[in-house]
């Protein structure tokens, strides 16, 4: 099975702190990591390859330094990496990103595309389904379990999964080629192996520009993005904070009274 994993390099938000005075993010010294959800996507792809055979390609769109994310994926066992890069891609929203990624996927061909549910910097969860739409293939979001996958010699196949919904779980079967987005519950990502790390150093990362995937600069990056950021601001601090006083019993009593008054009970 030819599997493509879409990954994104993001700042490690676990390391990000907020400057309380200015309300801005302190980004200094914050390491870049593979988006945590994408780690589960990589593990899912590797698991399927180990079981069914085939090849896993990690794809990312980003600046040259995003290559590090692809090398990290290779150190975990991914076969090769593809970097969609160039100035023309800067400032892309989810639509422009999906257009570029789907172009790259079309260029290499894939039976299954695995994405993390969302990226922790943007939190949109839109790129996966949009890529599927651009490729005109089915997708299943929030996959928490892969029940089975099969593919024959003519690349006809299907994948059966459990999809996490708001009030339960659906069992969904999709025809291949298909795209799935995965949640944390699906698996525990493996650590890199030493052979993988050595391999990651040596492997050449293939790079593609917009022209090489058949896209004009007008439809990618900022120019190809219908949404625009009008402004960025820090959320207003919460007000109405009340410190409860007295012994524990009095505090609890006061709390219950407050909640009654606010009609919470």
């Amino acid at each position: 099975m030819r599997i493509a994993v879409c990954i994104k390099q993001v700042p490690d938000t676990a390391e990000v702190k907020i400057n309380r005075e200015t309300g801005t993010l302190v980004r200094e010294g914050v390491p870049s990591i593979i988006n945590p959800y994408d780690m589960h996507a990589i593990e899912a792809a590797l698991g399927l390859r180990d079981a069914l055979g085939g090849k896993v390609t990690a794809i990312t769109m980003g600046p040259p330094q995003a290559e590090a994310a692809l090398r990290e994926a290779i150190s975990m066992g991914v076969d090769d990496g593809l970097l969609v890069t160039g100035r023309e891609f800067a400032g892309a929203d989810t639509l422009a990103t999906s257009r570029a990624l789907s172009g790259a996927i079309r260029a290499i061909g894939a039976d299954l595309i695995v994405c993390g549910k969302q990226a922790i910097d943007g939190d949109t969860a839109q790129v996966g389904p949009e890529v599927a739409e651009f490729l005109d293939i089915p997708h299943v979001s929030y996959v928490r379990k892969i029940i089975e996958a099969e593919i024959d010699h003519e690349a006809r196949g299907s994948i059966k999964v459990e999809r996490l919904m708001d009030e339960g779980v659906d069992v969904v079967q999709a025809e291949l080629p298909a795209l799935i987005t995965v949640v944390r519950e699906l698996n525990t990502p493996r650590l890199p192996s030493l052979r993988g790390k050595i391999n990651a150093k040596k492997t050449e990362i293939k790079k593609l520009s917009a022209a090489e995937i058949g896209l004009t600069p007008e439809v990618v990056g900022f120019n190809g993005s219908p949404t625009q950021v009008k402004k960025i601001f820090t959320p207003a601090p919460r007000c109405g904070r009340r410190v409860l006083e007295g012994g524990l019993e009095e505090q609890v009593e006061a709390l219950v009274k407050e909640l009654m008054e606010k009609k919470c009970l």
Binding site: T13, A14, I18, L25, R27, P36, P63, G86, R87, F89, A90, G91, T94, S98, I120, D121, G122, D123, T124, P129, E130, E133, P138, H139, V140, Y142, L164, D166, G168, D170, V171, V172, Q173, A174, E175, A178, R184, P217, E218, F222, N223, P226, T227, Q228, K231, I232, F233, T234, P235, R241, R242, V243, L244, L248, E253, L255, V256, L259, K262, C264
Partner: protein, 401 residues
């Protein structure tokens, strides 16, 4: 707009480099240079004391659709689960009504797969028209039929705004619609308003894990699409006398679905549903609970308050409670009326998932815990003393009534 540094104004102080969340700015020859990693968040713009960083219009005008004015009306996708319209749809009708009022256009709902009775309910809640399809393909949620039929209706009727809930369903299929229509979609909005000068929809959403808010526009394309976080908007008033038109549509060619639902299992834990996003009251526990047993007290409390149980990532990682209870960046984002955080220290990743709750009660033994910074009420002390006390007091109230 892309950002540029005016080199003759830049003092090379590096303030922009420090604030850039994306590491996109480098110092080149003593002047700041914005690289291609720029996400246009504009954090640098406010940080620059010299005002050297400016927005500029690109050389290329965006390929927008020819006539934006041909698009009229506000649409709400009313999602249904098991034949019942989800509460978020009423919230969207409430909000959509306001927007439609400001724009002087009609408010329409789209309902796939429930009953006519439910469609009438949408009218009572504010819809002027309901596009209704009762094809059985919509019994279970499948992305392609929903995306296909909605995109086709949008193409036919050309609304200027399309809203859906930022739920599992809305966030899964609406991106497909946006990609098909090549239009903008803003995820998980918490605020919507009309920009008076242009009539554009200003969509406000938390970004970067909720640490910053972003206002997003789609000025050059229509419709402007957004998914909206449940529980944030006020539901529309129910008015039995309201009249509206129910227009039946056929699924037709859009019945094609290459990802079929074979079974749909509603998960219930005991008598309590784990639908965190729609709960009015959430009692959450963290590492301070010290173990599985601690959650028993939370469940008792949840039953008393008619709420549901949430958890921090730490508690889920410890295996004390399943992942579906997790609140925070890698779990669910919630905004209940009342959120009680028990033994949760309040890591940023947790706070972003619950800080828009109406009332937050924090109980923690460490007075320095960051959770107290967002709490409406805080109690410092031992959970094992406080929770039984709270349970007892609540029971007394209940029995006293």
């Amino acid at each position: 707009m892309p950002l540029k540094v005016e080199k003759n104004v830049c003092s090379g102080c590096g303030a922009c480099i420090t604030v850039c969340p994306y590491d996109a700015i480098k110092m080149e020859g003593g002047k700041a240079e914005i690289g291609e990693y720029c996400q246009l968040c504009q954090a640098c713009l406010t940080a620059c004391a010299e005002g050297a960083i400016k927005e500029y219009k690109g050389d290329l005008e965006k390929p927008g659709q020819a006539d934006l004015s041909a698009y009229k009306g506000v649409w709400v996708f009313a999602e249904q689960r098991g034949g019942k319209v989800a509460p978020v749809a009423f919230e969207l009708l409430g909000e959509g009504g306001k927007l439609a009022g400001q724009r002087g256009v009609e408010l329409c709902a789209v309902l796939f797969g429930a009953t006519r009775q439910e469609a009438r309910e949408l009218v009572r809640r504010g819809a002027d028209k309901v596009y209704f399809c009762d094809d059985e393909i919509f019994t279970n949620f499948e992305d392609e039929p929903n995306a296909g039929l909605l995109a086709s209706l949008i193409n036919e009727h050309r609304p200027e705004i399309v809203l859906a809930g930022a739920t599992a369903i809305g966030r899964s299929f609406l991106p497909r619609v946006a990609a098909r229509l090549k239009t903008g979609l803003t995820a998980d909005c918490t605020g919507l308003e009309i920009e008076p000068e242009t009539g554009n929809l200003i969509q406000t959403r938390p970004a970067y894990g909720g640490n910053i808010m972003a206002s997003i526009l789609s000025p050059g394309t229509r419709p402007q699409m957004a998914t909206v976080r449940p529980k944030v908007m006020k539901p529309g008033r129910c008015d039995d006398s309201r009249q509206g038109e129910i227009i039946e549509v056929k699924a037709g060619e859009f019945r094609r679905s290459r990802a079929k639902v074979l079974a749909s299992i509603r998960e219930e834990e005991g008598a309590m549903k784990v639908n965190l996003q729609e709960a009015d009251v959430i009692i959450s526990g963290g590492r301070g609970l010290k173990g599985k047993e601690g959650f028993q007290m939370l469940r008792e409390l949840a039953v008393l308050l008619g709420g549901t149980v949430g958890a921090s990532r730490a508690a889920v990682d410890e295996g004390w409670i399943p992942y579906c209870h997790q609140v925070g960046q890698t779990g669910k984002t919630v905004a209940p009326k009342l959120y009680i955080a028990c033994g949760i220290s309040g890591a940023v990743q947790h706070l972003v998932g619950m800080q828009s709750s109406d009332i937050i009660v924090a109980i923690n033994k460490n007075p320095e815990a960051p959770i107290f910074n967002v709490a409406t009420y805080g109690i410092v002390g031992d959970l094992n003393e406080i929770l039984p006390l709270l349970i007892r007091k609540l029971k007394e109230r209940k029995n006293g009534r």
